[in-house]
Amino acid sequence: MNQRDRDNELNALFAAYKAAVPDPDASANFMPELWRKIEARQSFTIRVRKLTQVFVGAAAAICLLFAMVLAVPGSHPTELRGTYIDVLADAHPADNLAALGIHGDAAEANTK
């Protein structure tokens, strides 16, 4: 059998297939079921939208709360100014270090 014959036979088979599987009629339940599915998806979308709104609202409230906490004066423990060394020097005055028996150049300079 050559290529042309095989092609023709396959074409005939496809035509027979179309005839063997005609367009079926929709059942009586088709439209009610379709609308039920449409409404089910609508209510699902509405629920997701509501849930999203709740989450967005909650996130906004939390942001506001944090902003207020940060904005209230005195809520910060200490205000840091200067370098790390300055902060250390402020926290440990030379007198205290001398009392502890620590003698450094800075401590000596301060006592002099």
Partner: protein
């Protein structure tokens, strides 16, 4: 077009009655296309409802009513493809269903309940379904639209949004695979025919 452009525009505007009319106008054609694309009569309505469900929720994206039909076909192709992909995952359980159906069919035939014409149709359907099994789900759909539904390359171009040459190549390869499977099936059928 099976409906007026106005009807589609009304449906786009949210008129449910107009949408209903569009569905009623197209459902028989869509049911037929799906029946031949998926090859499972019991699931045809579910897939068709999925098509119209997608249509309902995406109708507002349709720019011009002129492209409504290719667009509806694209939704049909996508829904059928999704169905076939899911089916492949459930293939094993489905195979047992099929064999059960075949047993029932054979029983009915033995009892004279099924006419010879019905049997012939069943054989053609089973043969084509098995031949189309030689190609991927995507190629099965493409080949069915071209060879069985009789859509032109221009129409397929609009549905798939790819150029004609790419479609021709895909169609040629898919058809060759089906032809090979057809030859193989004829080769295996011949000894059986000789026995009977």
């Amino acid at each position: 077009m099976l409906v007026e452009f106005e009807q589609i525009q009304k449906a786009q505007a949210g008129d449910d009655a107009a949408f209903n009319q569009v569905v009623v106008a197209y459902r028989k054609r869509i049911l037929g296309t799906i029946a031949r694309l998926i090859g499972r009569p019991e699931d045809v309505e579910d897939v068709a409802q999925e098509v119209f469900l997608r249509l309902y929720y995406s109708l507002d994206q349709l720019r011009t009513p002129e492209v409504f039909e290719p667009w509806l076909y694209r939704l049909t192709v996508n829904a059928s493809y999704d169905y076939l992909r899911k089916q492949r995952r459930r293939n094993e359980s489905r195979m047992s269903d099929l064999s059960e159906q075949q047993v029932m069919m054979a029983d009915a035939a033995a009892g004279g309940k099924v006419s010879s014409e019905e049997q012939r149709r069943k054989q053609v359907k089973e043969l084509v379904d098995s031949l189309l099994g030689a190609v991927s789900e995507q190629d099965r759909i493409l080949l069915t639209l071209k060879e069985v539904e009789g859509l032109s390359l221009k129409e397929l171009e609009k549905i798939y949004r790819v150029n004609e040459n790419a479609l021709k190549v895909r169609l040629f390869r898919a058809r060759q695979r089906v032809l090979n499977a057809f030859e193989a099936s004829q080769g295996s059928a011949k000894p059986g025919e000789q026995k009977s």
